[in-house]
Every structure is written in C-alpha cells, then in structure tokens.
C-alpha cells in the first residue's frame, strides 16, 4: 500500500531513535530540545546533543498539552496545570480545587495560558492574574487569537469568544453540534473548529459567515497552518487535505487540495515553520514530508502498523520530531 517506502527519497537515516517507554500523545520543541508528551505522568526531553531526560509533571494521565515555544504547558487528570522548560524546570500554574480533570490547555501571547475543566475555562495572564468563564457545556477546545488577549472556547453548539481583560460580554458563534479542536487563522480573520462529525466548521469573523468543510472519513484531530497562513492542513482523510485561505473568502466555494494519498488515514499533520512543506503522520506509522508547490515527497519514517500520534518542527525548521502510540519516537535532523 505504501510504495513510498521504496521509491521515494528518504531522510530516515538521519533519525535519532528514542524509546519513550509510554504512548506519546504530543510533541513540541523548546529551542533545539524536543519535548515528547507521554500519556501518563511525564515529559521526555530530548536535547539535540546529549541524553534524554524524563521529567515528572503530573500524578496521572496527561490530557492535553500546548507550547508557546518557551514552555510546554500540560493539563492532567490530577487537576494541575504545569509549565515545563527545556531545562526540566517545572512550575505548577494552577491546581483545580476539586481536582477535576484539566481537559484542555492553550498558550497565548505574552505568556498567557488558558485551561478548562468541564464547563469552566480559565485564563492566566502573563502577569499571573486568573480570570474564569463558565460556558454552557464541556469545553471541547481552546485557542488564543493571534493578536491581543482573546480566547476561543469551543463547546456544544458553537464557540464562545472571550476577551478576558475586557468588560464586554463574550461573543457567541453558533453552529449546531459538538465542537472540539478550535483554531484561528494566522491573520485572525477566520475561526475554525473540528466537529464531532467528520467535518470542520468555520466562521469569517467580520461578517460571521459560516463555512462547512466536509468529506473526511474520521473526526479531524490535527490542524496546522502553513508558514504564510495560505493553507490549512488537516488530518482525518486518506490523504492530506489542504484548505485554501489566501483569498478573503477563504475556502468558501472552493475544493481542497489533496496530496499524498496512500489509502491510509492521516492521523497528524505539522507544517514547516518557514517553507511550504508539511510533515504527515499516517495510521500505519508512515511519516512523509510533502512539498506543496510540486507535491514532491520525502520519506521520514517507514510504516510499522503503529499509528503516528505526534509531529513537531523546531522553530528553524531543521529538526522534526515524531512520536507513536507504542512509545517509539524519533528526531530527524534536516540541517
């Protein structure tokens, strides 16, 4: 099925292989250090040079993670929100008084952090002030707008947009159904959610125009914007699905670009921070890099039947980290 493994140029030999010892649920970079988020208790720090290091962050499952490039923030079923640095220092940002699960976390501008427990969303500003907002149902996703302190909170039947520092009432964007991952376009003009059904929903913020992006075979779990914000790369289909966002109408009335089809579900996508290159992780373990202008493919990991669960680029775009559900991981140097 994946003939790519024999006919495509490969960077596999540049891989540093890592055995994390636990399922990997996320990956981030802090400088040149890869941070692998494990399903339970710990992060695994993988510096470019030197030994891997396990850092205990939660007393249980790690439910979500996000990074602003300076810290990795995690939420756990121990009710804690923890920020970790590349050197392994950790800071407990918040502890839920009832030890409720911290379901979602997000990082924002100037050190702001958001998290949610059930129906309650919190924002902690860079100065350490905490604000709280209750939404009508469990929070499915959190995202900060690219500019200003503005938080999108996805939930059942829509998204609440909240300026935690303003007196103004939160704005509601409604669309029937259950909304999970939420995301702003990098220019701040569009708001997107991944729904319980295999589709995305979107709103153009200035006129609240709705957009429906469907055709997926599974719930979309991974969304990533290309460096110039022109494309939204998504998982959830048997190929890479890219929605065009360079015009003022975004993807309205347009069909998506489809690349790198192998008859295997795309599980996770990560756009290169500088070039129009996208790393794609598949359900069968394959990791491919695909270049947008000509669709050229480079093999980064061979399929091994274990779903890829995490992908991340460092800020320079010369290191790629991947992680899989069985705890295998790798970093690939592309410099």
């Amino acid at each position: 099925m994946t003939d790519a493994s024999t006919s495509t140029p490969s960077v596999i030999e540049r891989t540093r292989h890592i055995a994390a010892g636990a399922p990997i649920v996320g990956a981030h970079f802090l400088g040149r250090t890869a941070v692998l988020v494990l399903g339970e208790e710990a992060l695994l720090l993988v510096p470019e040079e030197g030994e891997e290091r396990r850092v205990a962050v939660h007393g249980g499952g790690i439910l979500s993670a996000a990074s602003d490039g300076a810290r990795v923030v995690t939420g756990g079923d121990d009710g804690k929100v923890v920020a970790s640095g590349a050197n392994g220092d950790i800071e407990i940002l918040a502890t839920d008084e009832k030890q409720r699960w911290i379901d979602r976390v997000a990082t924002g501008p100037d050190g702001a952090v958001a998290w949610s427990a059930g129906k309650t969303a919190h924002v902690r500003t860079g100065k350490g002030e905490v604000r709280t907002l209750e939404v009508p149902s469990s929070v499915g996703g959190l995202a900060f707008a690219p500019k200003g302190l503005r938080l999108a909170i996805a939930h059942y039947n829509g998204v609440t947009l909240w300026f935690p520092n303003a007196k103004a009432a939160p704005e509601r964007f409604e669309w029937r159904g259950s909304h999970h991952e939420v995301n702003f376009s990098p220019d701040g003009k569009f708001l997107l959610t991944a729904m319980q059904e295999p589709m995305l929903h979107g709103w153009r913020l200035h006129d609240r125009k709705d957009m429906r992006m469907s055709g997926y075979s599974a719930r979309v779990r991974s969304l990533s914007w290309t460096a110039d914000g022109g494309w939204l790369a998504t998982s959830g289909a048997e190929q890479l699905i890219l929605w065009p966002f360079s015009s003022k109408d975004g993807p309205m009335g347009k069909t998506p670009r489809q690349l790198a089809a192998f008859g295997v579900r795309v599980e996770v996508v990560a756009c290169h921070p500088k070039q129009e290159v996208i790393a794609i992780g598949y359900e069968d373990g394959l990791v491919l890099l695909v270049r947008l202008d000509d669709g050229a493919e480079i093999l980064a990991k061979k399929p091994d039947k274990v779903p890829v669960s995490a992908l991340a680029w460092d800020g320079a775009g010369t290191l790629l980290a991947w992680g899989a559900e069985d705890g295998k991981a790798g970093t690939i140097s592309l410099a």
Partner: protein
C-alpha cells in the same frame, strides 16, 4: 459494535434513584476478583464509592448535527473515555453509572458513533437495577424508568425482601411486558454473582444467540396485542401473568423462509432511518437465500450493525428471527415490511 479482544469492556449501570445502583457498584468494586475498574459516576449521584479511579461525569447529551432527536451521544463520555485511555493498563474494565433520570440510549450510542471510543472500548451490557417495591409506580410516572427497563440486557429486581411473592411475580410480568429478552435476577441487597452482570458481551454480534424471550417459550404464538386503549390488560399464558405495556413494547418477527438480502437490507435501513426514534433496540438472526452462513444484526435507534456469524449447522433449522423493543412501534408496517423480504 463487535469482536476484538483487547478492547476495554464497559458496563452501564442504570436504575431509578434508590433502587440500589450504588450498592451494586460497591459490591462489584469490593469483591476479591483481582480486577481494577475505572468508574464513571454522575455528579449528582449518591456518594460513598470507594475506588481509586473514579471520574465525575456531567451527563451531557449531545445531538449529532443531523438534527434527529434520537441521534444523541454523551459528549462528556467521549471526553472522559479518551482521557481514561491515557491510563490504559491501570484498569481492566470501565463501569458507567448513570443518574436515575438517564436515558441509556445516548450512553450506548456513544460507543458506536465515536470512532475513537469504539476503537478502544466496547459496550458489554446495560444493567438496570429496579426497586421491587417501587418499580410499578415508577413505570407509571417516570418515562426514564421505562426506558431503562426496555433497554436493559440484565435486570436486577432488587429489595425482593420488601415485597410478597405475588407482588414479585407481578413486577416480573410487568418487566417482561416491556422487555422479554433481558436476563432477570431477583436480589435483596444487590447480591448477585458478578459474572451475571459483568462480561456479558451483550452487544457482541457473536453472542446474539439467545433472542428467545425468557419465559414465553411455552406459548408458541406471537404477542401482538396492541390495542391502543387506555387500561392495562393482563392475561394468562402457561400460568404466567403477562402484561402488555401500553406504549413500550417488544415485537418479534420470524419466518422459516429464507430472506432476500437485496430486499431485507434496504427495508431494515429504511425502517430505522424513519422509525429509529421509536426503536430502542433490535436484534436478529437471519437466514438469507443461498447463504450458508448465519447473519446477525443488532441496533440501537438508527444505528445498525450486522455481520456473518458462522455457518449454519447441518442439524440446525434455518430460520430468521428479528426482535424490536420500542415505543409505539408501527407494528403492522414492520410485520408487512418483514414479510415482503422473503426471497
């Protein structure tokens, strides 16, 4: 909906407030079975559950965006099960305790609608605890209680020490009038062998073998009395009192003639698409023309699941049987539709 061994089994405990759900739950957790359970309890439930892995749920029922009232899932359960799977290996099974007011259908549907949940867990059975003394009243005033009985795979008639034998038989008959297919147990303080409530595989297609009504075997005729008038009528078969609930009922169809799959599938899919809201559950074992294998089917509201089960045995009678449990089922339409699927 079926197979797979490494999926975590999930037992759903339902029952009206005070029936003894928590007693049963504590019994399950405290017996020396060497197994670890992750327990999902409702936030408003009775307290006093002693277990390491315990999660509070909000019972958020979400409609899917197709706009249909029966196509619902438990949104919080999707989130919680995803989170629990981060700790896979720390527990052997999951128990979901619902509030007394909960409808079991959204809970069950969650396991079939959400791909991620369905990949990692499987619904084992819906177990309903009923209060021997108060169930009759609840069936009158609480539609939820009726739903919980109709939906159940296993029913515990609890607190039997508080009623007479005659009252107990009447309660059983009432339950049978709604759901003749559940396994029925009489208990006092929810004392029951755990093997009777756990590991039932009630939603496993391979285990759809016993869809004979539990005590109506002897009668030999279909129970198709649905009169639409306002009083409960009871009548006697083989010495057993049998009530027919006015709106919640079961419907059993059977034929010895082989079915035409090209007629049957469009018919049953159309039926659940149109009448899904009134169909709580269905199960069937089917014999198709020129097909050497038994076909099994089951469903919850509009969700249908079916597969070949195994070859018909040489000495086995090849017949088809399909049962529905639901509310105000369009009986004539279903009977005629089924009859028209004969090859």
């Amino acid at each position: 909906m079926s197979e797979s061994t490494d999926k975590i089994p999930v037992t759903v405990l339902t029952g009206y407030l005070g029936a003894g759900k928590t007693t049963l739950l504590n019994r399950i957790l405290s017996e020396p079975h060497g197994k670890k359970y992750a327990v999902i309890v409702n936030e408003f439930g009775e307290i006093g559950i002693d277990n390491e892995l315990i999660v509070n749920a909000d019972e958020e029922v979400f409609e899917m965006n197709n706009g249909c009232i029966c196509c619902t899932v438990r949104g919080d359960l999707i989130r919680i099960i995803e989170g629990l799977m981060r700790r896979k290996g720390k527990f052997d099974a999951i128990i979901v305790e619902t509030t007394g007011l909960a409808d079991p259908a959204p809970v069950a549907q969650t396991f079939f609608v959400d791909e991620n949940v369905g990949k990692r867990t499987k619904l084992d059975a819906v177990v309903t605890v009923a209060d021997a003394k108060w169930l009759k009243e609840r069936l009158k005033d609480a539609p939820e209680a009726k739903n919980q009985i109709a939906f159940a795979d296993v029913i515990l008639i609890n607190k039997t020490d508080l009623v007479t034998d005659a009252e107990l038989r009447e309660i059983e008959a009432r339950i049978r009038g709604i759901n003749p297919y559940a396994k029925l147990h009489r208990t006092e303080r929810a004392n029951i062998a755990l093997s009777e409530v756990l590991g039932r595989n009630a939603f496993d297609l391979d285990r759809i073998l016993d869809i004979e009504p539990e005590f109506l075997h002897a009668d030999g005729h279909d129970h198709d009395h649905h009169h639409g008038h306002d009083h409960k009528h009871d009548h006697s078969h083989g010495g057993l009192k049998h009530y027919h609930d006015e709106d919640m009922q079961s419907l059993s169809l059977s034929t010895d003639k082989p079915l035409n799959p090209d007629k049957f599938f469009p018919w049953v899919q159309d039926l659940v698409a149109k009448d899904g809201p009134s169909i709580l559950r269905c199960k069937g074992i089917l014999s198709f023309k020129d097909d050497p294998e038994r076909f099994v089917i089951q469903g919850v509201h509009m969700i249908l699941d079916g597969d070949h089960q195994r070859p018909w045995k040489d000495d086995e009678k090849r017949s088809s049987r399909l049962v529905f449990i639901g509310r105000k089922l369009p009986e004539e339409k279903i009977r005629n539709g089924f009859a028209s699927c004969v090859a």
